[in-house]
Structures are given as C-alpha cells and as structure tokens.
Symmetry: C2
Subunit: 209 residues, 2 copies
C-alpha cells in the first residue's frame, strides 16, 4: 500500500512555520527578526535554537537593504552558496564562494591557515557593502575579524556568523559579538552550520513565507 | 590585536573528534558505525544527536562496498551533493542530484507532488546498487518508498534517510525504518538535514579521519 503524505509544498511550509510559532519562544524578537529566526529553526528541525540566536539591533534591516541595493552574498562554503534560493533574491544578487578557486590551496600554505580562511582574501574586491555568510568554518570568521582590524579593509553591510562545531566555533562567534564591526547575527555555542545560515539568508532576501 | 586561534585543519579535526568521543554516548555502535556517527555529530555541532541515529545491521558495510564498487551517490538536494568531499570517494563515484533538471517542475505538476519528490523519477536509470542520500525533503523519502513498493523498481544498495523538519520528516523516517527495503540509516524525529547527511556520506566514503 503506498504511503500517503502531504505533497503540497506551500502547505508543508505553512504547517511547519505554524508549528514553530506555536512551540518556540520568540517573544524577544521583533517582527523582522522573528521571520528570520523561524526559518533558522525550520532548517535545523529544532525548536530551542532560538535561545542561541543573537542579532544586533538593525541587523535584518542592514542585511535586507544591502540585498535590495544589489549587494553580493559572500559565502565560506559551497553548501551555503548552493542553498541560497535564487528566485528570492531582490536584485539577482551575485552569490560568491571562493573556497574552490585554484589559488586557494597555495594561499593557505603561505598563510599557515586553512583553505576556508585563505579564501576570504579573495573576497576583498567584493567586500564593501556585501552580506557575509559564514556557515561552516570558524577559521573563516576569525580571519574575517582580523581582516577588519585593518581600517583600510572594506566593510561588509552585515555578517551572518554561524560556523558550527567543537573547535573555534563558539570562540569565533563570541569574538564577532564582542567586536560587532558591523550589524551581525550569530548562533551562540557549537550549533550553526550551512543549513541554518542559508535559512537566514533566504529569510532576509524575501519576507515571503 | 589580532585574534589567535587554531589554524591547522588536521589539528581541528583531531580535537573535534576527541571532544565528541569524550562526550557522546557511543557504546551501542560498532567501530564502523561509530566513525559515521562521530562525523554526523561533528557536522551538527551537537552531542546528543547519537541518541537519534539508527542504522540497520550491515548498513555501513553495504554502503561502503557499494562506493568501493563505483556506485553513484543519489542526492535529493544540491546542498547534499555539493557537500560530498570528492577526494574521499574510493572510485571517483558520480554524485547525482536531479532536482534542478529542467523537466522536474512539469513532472511535479503532473504528479501533484513536490519537485523534490518528482526529481527521484529521474534516478531510475542510476538507482540499481546506488547509495541514496536524502538530507532535505520528507516528500523525496516518501516517494522513494513508494517507488520501491514496485518489485520491478531497481534497488539501491543503501539509503541514508535524514530529511529534516516539522512536516513529514519524522513520519517518512519512521516509514523507512518500518519497511527497511535495503540497509538504511536514519536520524529519528525532526533532526536531520544536508550537513548531517553529507557527514555520513563522507565517513562511509573513507575511514580516514
């Protein structure tokens, strides 16, 4: 006997978001933030994630305005750049991931750092006013913070800082939160990753649920 | 003052896996399973995930043998196919995601189902002996189970069933676990997603940590 299940994508989204809003503790977020956090919870399949999400005031507006003005989205991993839903982007924004550029392995060796960190050096021509999305590598977020210590380094419009894991993830996000070089969003602690990061981008890109 | 942090990728992996093995409850897994589960925990940034992971006996061997024999990896989403670390693959295995094939939207309409489910119809020529990895869409996993109800449908070698979310994810994974058409791995409940799925593939592909 065939399995029966909900096959209407729009209905699936509606029910999912209704369940999240019924279960999650979203009171401390404003309307714009709430929509982003709901989508992050959705991607993680985890009510409770909201307790780890922190956004600086004006983060969603800064990130959304940047996208509306055509800003590129700079991603640390292909799983992030591939997840961005292109038709949600307000200005056919470029989605850039430099991790697999052929010069990156040699740059990493020269810098004694990971390829994920080295790849950010190739962001410099795109960084001014960009939306940065780091959903994988703590070393990328740390390296970005060090790049931004140079006052001549171009400033992104906003940073989604959601690297995941057990070494450096918590520390790099704490560092971003401490410095707040531009409006930022983090997921505190070990949780994070490409799916949650992509969800934040997709929610910022369009209010449509 | 620049931030200092661990910049040696190999050391980051070593420390991460050591932390996971110190904290997680891995006693019920055999050595091959343990290595897969550790990587899944790593990708999720979440000790405790192990309590939701279920593998049928022989799952890792079936999936690994298939890859060693050149089997393709069939993925329901680009975030899954993009995450597979190519140099870990034992036989330069094809990694296939049909979701964005141009005929899929019309097929979905004709089937009154999601694009994620419809895309699986294009798997049929590759399905025999393949490693299936569903890390996003519950509708894809349900549709696969319905395809496999036809005894003439080719059988994959193994299924990683890790769709995520609030509508159908738990139910589709329970259904897979109930039927067990081939050796399978699931993450019970709402948790799952592309990162966890990719981690399982990458661990199966190579024992190298």
């Amino acid at each position: 006997m065939p399995w029966t299940y909900e096959t209407d994508g729009a209905a699936i989204y509606r029910q999912s978001f209704a369940t999240i809003r019924a279960e999650a503790d979203l009171g401390r977020f404003d309307a714009d933030e709430e929509q982003v956090v709901v989508r992050m919870i959705h991607a993680a399949g985890m009510v409770g994630l909201e307790n780890f999400v922190k956004m600086t005031p004006g983060f969603v507006t800064a990130a959304r305005t940047a996208l509306e003005n055509g800003a590129p989205i700079l991603c640390d991993a292909r799983m992030v750049s591939e997840g961005v839903t292109r038709f949600r982007l307000p200005a056919d924004n470029p989605v850039i991931c430099t991790l697999h550029d052929p010069e990156v392995p040699d740059m990493a060796k020269a810098m004694s750092n990971t390829r994920s960190a080295a790849a950010l050096e190739l962001w410099r021509p795109h960084l001014d006013g960009a939306l940065v999305a780091i959903g994988n590598a703590p070393t990328a977020l740390f390296h970005l913070l060090n790049m931004l210590e140079d006052p001549d380094c171009p400033r992104p419009a906003a940073i989604i800082g959601c690297p995941v894991g057990f070494v450096g993830a918590m520390e790099s996000k704490d560092a971003l939160w401490q410095v707040q070089p531009v409006p930022s969003c983090i997921v505190e602690g070990r949780l994070g990753g490409s799916a949650i990061t992509v969800a934040a981008i997709n929610a910022i890109a369009s209010r449509k649920e």
